[in-house]
Symmetry: C2
Subunit: 232 residues, 2 copies
């Protein structure tokens, strides 16, 4: 009877922490959307908002880490439950990194506002960011529903993000060769593209944790990976 | 008496894990040195070795995570001991990321071998990587000796890495404007510089954990940070 009580206290506390993770995920989704919108429209004020909003995301990660540590210390969960708690901490870490990349996009937007505009590239970057945000939305849904199939679908879609990045890489090269005034802005745009591609990598890392929590196993197959270094 | 026994079992097991962290740190130091050497001398074979050696680093991180999880599950450490274990996991995570950046440097070296050489920049990149490797060496020493002063010294030195990066950023811009054949190799060199600067960020994150383990407090002052986004 007493043990039953302890187990459900653990579950209840874990659920509270998981709600924080979902909240954090929502803030990160908003950061991606706002950052890519500010880039597309060169909206310095919105970029500034994204930079400031990152503090709340960092704060949530710290809270989740502290709560998880307390949960482990207080409830001394068994091996399986412990791994779920450690997965939650990893996911919060991945979300924090994605938030950082969104903040970084906003920082570079504030710089790009004062440079020669490079037409076309910002629209493609926004589409890429939008795709990553949708993947993040789906992986959070998969986590709530313990849906390993949906998480696997997200893993597959990272392939497209990698292809979008490779196409942008070539586009930036041609822009830079066309006009030396494009070199400086394109270096920033290239970093944004690379960071967006990395956001996708963190979303897939979350998907792997979701599969692990849902099935008890990490996905067997290493996910398909396009080389980023030889995009010819 | 029995409790005494449990406490020292925890300490002994923690020490074994910490030895793994130090070993991992040594491999990461070697990876940084070899990757920057292969870049400087355009030695494709050495670059290939660095890429392969990363598997051992990843394996050590997995081992450390598994051992830490087992230690927590088995010994149910108190709040303070638990935080030390969580710090160890964070440090292993930082080391793994630094190893990834070194691998990435080696990957880009394999591409740069087949491009128009850009004179001068590779030497500066090697100096920067060498500086990061020395910071890593010192932070590992600080960890072994629980030396918060040495860890704080490492925090300070990250400032220099940031300045080196900013100088290189400007240098790459001028190279690219001088000759369009430099654009493609300089984009790779620029990423290497950025990744080396990020290695420095992870070394400082380790330094913060060392200060935390040694003093029980995270460092008060946010470390000085040069903007990477507006280097003129």
């Amino acid at each position: 009877m007493n043990e039953q009580h302890i187990v459900s206290a653990f579950d209840r506390e874990l659920e509270t922490i998981q709600a924080q993770v979902i909240k954090m995920g929502g803030l990160v989704e908003a950061a991606i959307l706002d950052a890519s919108k500010s880039l597309k429209t060169l909206d310095e004020e919105l970029a500034e908002q994204v930079r400031n909003a990152d503090k709340a995301i960092d704060g949530l990660e710290e809270q989740i880490n502290a709560d998880c540590a307390q949960l482990i210390a207080l409830r001394a969960p068994t091996a399986v439950d412990l791994r779920v708690v450690l997965s939650v901490m990893k996911m919060a870490g991945n979300l924090e990194r994605i938030g950082d990349y969104a903040k970084n996009m906003a920082k570079r937007t504030s710089v790009l506002v004062h440079m020669t505009p490079v037409e076309g590239a910002r629209g493609a970057l926004r589409r890429m960011a939008r795709e990553v945000q949708l993947m993040l939305k789906d992986v959070l849904d998969a986590y709530i529903q313990r849906d390993a199939e949906l998480a696997r679908d997200v893993l597959e879609r990272d392939h497209e993000i990698d292809q979008m990045y490779n196409a942008l890489f070539r586009e930036f090269l041609t822009f830079m060769m066309e006009d030396p005034r494009h070199i400086s802005p394109c270096m920033h745009l290239h970093f944004i593209a690379k960071n967006t591609e990395r956001m996708g990598d963190h979303v897939t890392a979350i998907a792997e944790q979701v599969i692990y929590v849902a099935t008890g196993k990490m996905p067997d197959e290493p996910r398909p990976k396009v080389s980023h270094y030889e995009p010819e």
